[in-house]
Structures are given as C-alpha cells and as structure tokens.
Assembly symmetry: C2
Homo-oligomer: 516 residues x 2
Amino acid sequence: MSTRDRRSNRRRERREREPAPIAKAVEPLVNKLPLTEVLSEEGVDAIHRASMRLLKDNGILVIDYPPALETFRAHGARVEGELVQIDEETLLHFVQQAPATFTQLARNPSNTLPVGGRNIIFAPVYGPPFVGDLDRGRRQATLDDFQNFAKLTYMAQHLHHAGGTLVEPNDIDLPERHLDMLLAHITLNDKAYMGSVTHADNARDTVTMTEILFGAEAIRQNPGVISLINASSPLRFDDRMFGALEVYAHARQAVIVTPFIIAGAMSPSTMAATLAQQNAEALFGICYAQMLNPGTPCIYGSFLANIDMKSGAPCFGTPENALALYAGAQMARHYKLPYRSGGNFTASRIPDAQAGYESAGTIWPTVQAGVNFVLHAAGWLEGGLITGYEKFILDLEMCGMMARYVNGIGLSDEDFAWDAYAEVEPGGHFLGAQHTMRHYTTAFYQHTVFSMDNYEKWEEEGSHDSYRRANKIWKQMLKEYEAPPLDEAIAAELNTFVEHRRAEIRAGQPRAEWKS
Amino acid sequence: MSTRDRRSNRRRERREREPAPIAKAVEPLVNKLPLTEVLSEEGVDAIHRASMRLLKDNGILVIDYPPALETFRAHGARVEGELVQIDEETLLHFVQQAPATFTQLARNPSNTLPVGGRNIIFAPVYGPPFVGDLDRGRRQATLDDFQNFAKLTYMAQHLHHAGGTLVEPNDIDLPERHLDMLLAHITLNDKAYMGSVTHADNARDTVTMTEILFGAEAIRQNPGVISLINASSPLRFDDRMFGALEVYAHARQAVIVTPFIIAGAMSPSTMAATLAQQNAEALFGICYAQMLNPGTPCIYGSFLANIDMKSGAPCFGTPENALALYAGAQMARHYKLPYRSGGNFTASRIPDAQAGYESAGTIWPTVQAGVNFVLHAAGWLEGGLITGYEKFILDLEMCGMMARYVNGIGLSDEDFAWDAYAEVEPGGHFLGAQHTMRHYTTAFYQHTVFSMDNYEKWEEEGSHDSYRRANKIWKQMLKEYEAPPLDEAIAAELNTFVEHRRAEIRAGQPRAEWKS
C-alpha cells in the first residue's frame, strides 16, 4: 500500500466519523424539458465543417509552449513554427476519448456533482477585480471579499458549486493568491470547487491540496477539482493556459476549455463564423487534453459576447448572445461533450433594471439550451469587472426559479385537481379548496428578494427597490454564516502545505514535491 | 350601391390622394426559429381531454345574458339555468370554423398586420388605472396620459399595434371614456388598434368609428379592430363580455378570448388543472363567436399568473408563468388558432432590477413559445396596475432585441467570413477587417436605453441608472412627436360622431344607429 493509499484510507475513516454537515446539501438540478434549439441539423453540420476547415487550413497558434507543439506533432498534427494544423480525423479521434459525463467530488459527499447529460450546475461569478455594493460603490476586491463570497456561496441553496476566482484578492501578492483562494473554498464551503490556472505550479498546488482533501487515489477515479482553460482567441492558446491544462490532464482533473470571444473583435461580427471559430478552439483544447491523457474529463466551454459597435464594450443579454448560447449547446451535444456557457450576465454597473433584463435574458436561454456547467450564475456586474454583493443575492432568485422551471408540468390525476372542481362551483374561488390546502406550500416558487407587495405596503415600508432589499439580505447571511466542520487533521495538513508553499514562493525557491 | 358602399368608395379615393405617412412603418416580425415546447404530444392530449371533461361535466356559467344561453341551446349545448355544458364534438365543430390566420387593417396600409402562423405582434400595456414615472411616482391616470402613451406607441419602432386601454383616463366619465380612447388611437397613431368591451353599446361605437375610418365593406373582408374578451374565471363569462363579443362577431371583427387566471385563486394551484381550465374557457368563448358568425377571426388568449401564497398578490416572470405560457401556445397550435399571451410582466412597482428580471423572464418565453399577439409588451408595472413611462421605454429595448432574435443565425458563405480569416492571422484582431467594416452597422443589436459605458464614464456622466436614462428618453420622444396625417373628411366625421354620441350618453338617450 502506497503512502497515498494509506492517507486515503485514513481519510475515509475520518470522514465516516465526521458529524453530518450542517448546511443543507444542494439539490442536483436535472432538466426534464425539451431543449430549445436554433440550428437545423444542416446548420450544425455547416458549423462543424467550417471549424474543421479553420483547424486544417488556418490552424491554431500555440505560443511560448514548445512541449505542446511536440505533443501535437507526435500525435499526427502538422506543426510549423508555433502554428498547429490538424485534420478532422485526427482531431475527432482524440476528442471522442473525452467522457460524455463525469462526476466531480465535493468534501460534503452529498454535494458531489454529476456533470453532463441533463444535469445543470450553478457556480458563482469568476474573475472580477472589483467588488461593488450599495453602501460603498465599486472598489478593489480583497481577500475579505473573497471569503465573504465563499461564505455566501456556501449558504446559497441554489448554487451547486463553490466556483473559483470569486473576486481577485488584490491585497494578497499575486504569486501566492491562489493558496488563499483554495484555502477559503475548502475551509469555508463544502461544495465542489475550481482550481488555479495562473501558472503550472499553481495548478500543481491545486492538485496537491485536492489530494490532501480527498486522497490521491480518489481524485484519479473522479476529479476533485475543475479548472477553466481559456483560449486566447482568435485561434490561439498560450503557455500559461496550456501549462495548467497539462498539469490537470496528467492528474486526471477536469478542465473547461473555453474560447473567450467578444464577437466583432476576437472573431468576425457574424455569428456563423464566430461559432465555427469557437468550435475549432474548444475542440483543439479538448483534443490536447486527450492527447496528454485519454479520458481526461473535459467540458466544451463557451464565453461569447458581442462588441458594442459604438463604445467597443462587450454587450450581454443580447439576441446574438442567446443565439450563440443555444447554437453552442447544439455543437457540444454533437460531440457528446458536457457544455459550459451562460450565467446572469449584464453590462450594467449596478443592479438596475438593465441588469435585470440582461441577466434574465441570459439565464433563461442558459437553462433552456441545456447548459451543464453555468459559471457566473450569481454576482456578475459590468461585463465581469465587478462582483456585486446585491447582484449576487438577486441572481440567486433566478437560480431558484430555474430549479423549479426544469421540472416542467406534472400531469398526474392529482395535478388535474378533479376534487377541486368537484368542490368549487363555476365562478367560485379555489383559495380555500382542499386541493389548494394540500399544495399551497409547494405549488409555486416562493421569492426571497423579489417583492409582490402592493404599492401602499411597499411605500409604507420605505419604497425600497430590489437593490436595497438585497443589501439587507447579504448582510444578514454573513451574520448567520457558520463554517461547515472540516476534519482537523486535513485542516492542519492543508495549512502546513500552504505555509510551506508560501515560504517557498516568498524565498523564490522552486516548487518541491509535497509529501505528507 | 348602398350608402355604406358609397362611403367606402369615397374613402378609397381619399386614401389614394393622401400623402405617404411620415412615421416609419412597423416591420412585421416573423419567428424563423424552432419553437420551445414543454409538453409532449401526450401532454397536449391529456390537457385537451381534461378540458373536454370540464366542459361536458362541470360546464361554464354564463351570467346575466340569456341571449347567449339561447344561442348555445340552439346549437346543441345542454343548458340548465345559466350553466352551459357542451360535448367535445359540438364544441370542436364550431371551434374549427375560426380561421388559422387573418389580417387586421391599419389606417397606414403599411401597418396592416398578419395575425397567426409565425407572425408576432407587439402591443402596449392594457388596462392600468394608474401611471407612474420617476418624477411624480404613482398617480391616477388621465386622458392626457392616455394620449401620451398613444403618441409614444406611434413612435415606438418595435410596437406593431396601437393597443387598447393604454391607461384608464379617470378624468373622463366612464360612459364616454371609450370615445376619447378610440379617437386618440385613430388620430394620434396610424397602427391597428383595439376596441371597447365595457358595454355592447361601446362595442357598437367602436365598430361605427372603425367603419368611418376604413369603410363598412372593407372591415367585413379584414377586421379593422380587435377586442379583448375576458372570461370571468373560473368557468364563467358575463353579460358585459359576451354582449361585446356578440356585437363584434356579428360585425366580423376580431376577438381575443382570454381566460384571466391567477392560479391558486381563480384556478387550482397545479398547472395541469389551470391549463385545462384555461383551455376550456378559451375554446368556449371561441365556440360562441363561431356559433354567432362562423369564420369570425378569434385569438386563443392566455393571461395566466400565479398567486403569491404569502401575500395573495399575483406573481410574474415566474417558472410557473413560463411553463404555462409555453404549454398554452402548444394548446392553441393544437386547435390551429392564433395565440395571445405574455408581455413584459412584473409585480414590481418601479422599474428596478426585479422588474427587469421578471419582464425579461416573460418576454423571452413569449417569443420562444410562438405567441402571435403580445399584449402588454411595453409599460406594465405592479401586476398591471401601473403604466410606467420609464418602464415603457425600457420594455421597448426588449422588443427591439426580440426583433433581432427571431431571425436566427445566417449560414451563408458571407456569414462564415472566410475573407476575414484570410485577412486576420491567428491571435489577431477583427475590428479593422474588411468583413467587419462591411457588417459593423448591422451586425449586432444596437441599444437605445441600455448603456454599455464603463464605470468611469458612467460615473462621470452622473451615475444614472436605467430608470433615469429612460426618463430622459420618453420626455424627448413626446417633444418630437408629430401626428400622422389623417384625411380631413374622416377626421371631421369621427368628431361629429363622437360629439353626437357624447350628447346621447349625457342625455341618457338610447344609442341611435349612425348614418353618415
């Protein structure tokens, strides 16, 4: 028995002794409804063929990362300088080795997540350098903010996943920031989480911490972390992202390969071309992961906005965004890959009406398209520059509604309410009927922050708009937060590792392999 | 040649001499995308069968209107007291006589509207007693407000229809209010409009004014007015609505038969039962119109919200609303009838984030469901109690986006932008590409009131949220409004009629037949 296996056994025993987690486990979300599609079969095929032409004739640039060029050459691609050209047969041979579904571990076993198929996972916003709230406006985010959002995510019934870079903790030095973020995800939350992609060593740290938490063997069976590998569009990947991808693929941890495209700038302004380019980039990254380690769990990612031709800023919640979201889902299904896209997007800087229209105009298509992994499901403002405290709370309302929507319409005898019609005469009132009494607590979605109060009551209570009501809620949640219990030995080992790595980083020493 | 025909000829000649209308004609909206469905074929059939059972076993109450009871009895229904029970065969025999599509006339011939099939018509909010704006909050609506919204509707590029009761003009006596509303629609706008349903005589006035405008013969060929006939749910119609319906059916003018249901109060709290009841009520009203005059253009209507079990208020933009909206569309298609539903609904009292989320959460499903006639597409606040000036402007942004969305994704060679990929290297930038230059003015939806500005620019310009930006826009629009020219003889005859009827009403005299 290896050291790792022994550690894993110890861990298993410890987990069995652990008290039940305090926080209510997330309910997995399964979309039972027919999906919305915007492309015919011929349309899917046309985009497929265009992307194959891009990959074969135009190629993908892989910059500053010779090992990837070697890998592609060794597996049948044509490499000239940093340009990789690959034909359809070779590409699909590898892409087909990615699993159609997989499972991501969470430290609360009830929060373990199925990825792919009809499953939907909501994860919070990823990446903003700023935070914003009603009291203090926009400001640089700190580790405090990061920890706040980790706590809010833990408490959010309708977020299934802890996410990744909830905000950039700008008060922590860049080279060690990932350690604090991972520690927060693991200790303040018990949901599945995302890894660091800012450097191959940071990816290694992510894997080590995930091994400490779950055991090295366990995460080879089912990934313990999922990470976001962005293309540097158009038709380009870089050393940072492919370096991290390589670490994760070798450790068999899941990756989301996402072309990051603002159409009109990083792609042509037409949707067909943009979708073909996105398809080429996503498949290229997934192909690379499969060349490195066949069977590596991969998600076909899409982040596709369009440019505002007046200001140059990205637009969200637009008809073009929705069309791309649906079409992207069809492409991912065509290759039998899980799909990441969507969220509660807005270009607005505060949670005003615009933010509401745009966010709902993204999250509805997201769910109807059949997206499996919904990053940015809560908190997104100003095109992803701000994580908004109130926006986070408001978006959760939408996530809750979506959790109801995907169940569709029940058609049992009880659903047809025959006894209610026997009880209530034509022209009567169903409020007091026995059938209504049986169903009234569960019949309809019950709102948290949206208010149905009439004008008089609303005015009496201070005429608060939803921005102000949300402000109250996140403060109350942070007050009520209690950390989920974590095995002390694991917590100690994680802290020891983080302090060790922090010391290494500060001393400018190379990363040494960690042995527990 | 009858007097009416002579009048009609005169009118035709006059129209030929008229100058071209100043306002840009509305562009008809055709949904080219696959529709979203939430019910299987078996589901549609189950709801159909349940509604047939309701109609046969429970029946529909028709109160205070013996003529309708007579009509139903004469056409094969079972009538006992005020309760009408009808079997499937009899009902469908009549329902099938309603046309699947029809055309509504507008005084600007370019604004004539196809109803049904894949066509979408956006009409403004209908019915609120209050108006609201940023400057003055909520207050009783007046004729001034009505005229303002008639003007804004005329100027709104993405509204195809003038609508009906834009607000209740509470400063005008109830018995003559309909005259002022019709006059405003006809003189301040040149789009198709809706008629009065508050009394059979008011329906007659509507028909007379529409005959003056288009000619009596012309509106027998294609309806010149469309009117909203609500059921008094559950399973009940009244004399007011059926009286108006009778006038319109005899004049072969179009009607929208709409069960008005807040589920949990006017129907059971389960969606299957609510949909079956809605189906029974809508088909019953349409059946009545066909019994009166086979071939009368009818729309299958749905206004279906659900009750907030905490406050008793109606909820909008909920998952239940969306499911019902989609399912209702499937039912209407099952009977080959045009469908009315949806809009930009919210329970919120002001256009805050909640209003945005809820409105977008209705208008997206509305368009994706294949709704043909979208009442309440702009201006709706507080569950329909308020017509909001700013909300109107914000909703227009959504209507504009929908007009782009329904076109789907182009798949021509030009759409695949091959010359752009020849011009731009991997890692390059498409902003300056020839292909982008060719498309940049039309590539993406361009916003009117939503702002893509970054935080700095937005702060510099006063940190205005979308509520405040919309406030500026409606004021500017009212300043710029110019009435579309109307033939002077028609205008004079309309005014004469209205003054004549006003005198009759004020004197308490019975309505005399109008002769021009």
